[in-house]
Amino acid sequence: MNWQWRWAALKNGFQDATAYRIEFFFEVFGSAVTPAIIQIMLWYALFQVGGASQVAGLSYNELIHYTLVSTLFTQVRGGNNDFELSEMIRSGALSNYLLRPVGVVEFTYIRGVAPKIFIAGLCLVVGIALSFFLGLNPTRILGAMGLAMVGNIIHYQLGAILATAAFHWEEAYSVLMVKNMLVAFLSGELIPLTFFPEKWAWIWKSTPFYLYVFGPTQYALGKWTDAEFFHQVLLSGLWLIGFSILVRVSWALSIRRYQSLGG
């Protein structure tokens, strides 16, 4: 395993992501604060204006805590590197990477994840600080962030598999967009997944998306036991292995259709 290029790609990806620092900070804080404010406004409307005392068994304070903590993990959720893969296939820019002695899927991920690692570090600091105000266990924040990072990898793997549609249809933007909409809903970043009726819970439980935000939030908030958390970590490991195989198979099958347009 050559760690040298991986470390260099990570540094390079971070340099690329932070080339425009104002843009970078707006992206980080704007994308965190805006949805959080919308959610808090929603809870306020339901409880303070609408007069509800509980929603799906959760009180106003519990939902506010959920929003604050889940925002940390939403920031770590996968980026748009799968869109980048799809666009590279469509435009022929993939050729630049195919020529290099590195795996294109891994290389794109490592470059893309660099700013997320930085953001995860920031969120961890904020999360630990927050844990003192909300009475949470800082160790659990750390574990939850680890699970969120594994979720980040799974998210990219799925995107990389779906991006191979661009080899066949030339464009995979809509496929990836639909995936992202499902992820936004089923990861727990919009609403806690406990809002799902019990008979429909199988829907989110049968995808890995809940491991991105809902799972880490549940663990950080103390809703999952340690045993349950490790069970979920094991499950995420299985998703990782399964998707790794699917990434290899889908790319090996599809790359023959690559046309390397342009140039």
Binding site: N2, Q4, W5, W7, A8, A9, K11, N12, Q15, D16, A19, Y20, G92, A93, S95, N96, L98, L99, R100, P101, V102, R256, Y258, Q259, S260, G262, G263
Partner: protein
Amino acid sequence: MNSPNSHLVSNEPIISVRDVKRVFRSIKKAEGLKGSLQLLYKPQYSEHQALKGFSFDIKAGEFVGLIGANGAGKTTLLKILAGLIPPSSGTATVLGEKPFDRSLSFRKKIALVMGQKAQLWWDLPAVDAFDLLRAIYAIDQTVYRERLNTLAKLLDVTRLLNTQIRRLSLGERMKMELIGAILHWPSIIFLDEPTIGLDVLAAHNLREFLRTFNERERATIILTSHNMDDIEQLCPRILIIRNGELIYDGDPKTLTNRGQCVLKVRLMEKPTNEELAAVCSLNLSQISRPNGGKVPGADLPEGTTDGAAHVEKDDDDEFSEMAAAQELIYFNIERTQVAHILQPLLAKYRLIDMGIDEQTLESVIQRIYEQSPQTAVGASS
């Protein structure tokens, strides 16, 4: 500098191509809204055969020029050899491997520079991109510094290494692309129009570098370019592609140095091509005119002063360009025939002026592009 090809036996072909064909299939959209609607429920596909059965070998250390008009198949061939796309049929072997297998060892030994395609990262300075490439190819720091300094000095971009790529001019970007492509000292370099956008000095420096790199490192270089200066100065062997077919494989001098030239004359009189052929003992096919063989004034009724008027204007130095062009006569002859043609010509007609055009590679290639696809190039080896 360590030679990238020191392990190769010189007589073994480093690139071997056998009956390689490549077909591209794409959706064909009819014109307008109707075409867009038709595309939704009944898409039409068309197939384009970019390569129609190529075979050739290239030995280690060769510098080969790949020439062809736009869409002839040059870049498709380079992409197959670099392992980006597989051939539809036939076999290509590069460095003893099938390029499309894209083994790590294969990718470490090749480079492809596409003049029209950016390979470096737009928002980063070149030096950051080069540092990543150093890590990817596991180049020793000292060797990397030495190579980067050499290349940056040679291409005169040292002062630009810390500038964002997107802020560079086209030529400066091209130079950076080239540095990025060859930092790992590849055994085979595929260059697709590398001098595009370069100024005269930079193009010269680049050519000199490629020549030195080829000679000193014994790197095999395949170059496509529409700039015949690049080809003439660098490539002792050229492959000419027309409509996906290899129509010439050999020395460019064979094309240009056949002793052929074009003798251009303007005469006071208006002899027909048949008359000229008889006077000069030439075939009719060796005589041509810019206006397609029509003799100016030949179809005018007898007694008209058209021809005289031309001469008069000529004498008065008022000869229009059009009129001058109409009276030009081209003799496509051997260089040694010039005197033999002029003697009978001067004996019978009055000469206004004359000139001799040597065949350049550019003029030969231009003629080949203009020929129909069925026409073969005689000297193909």
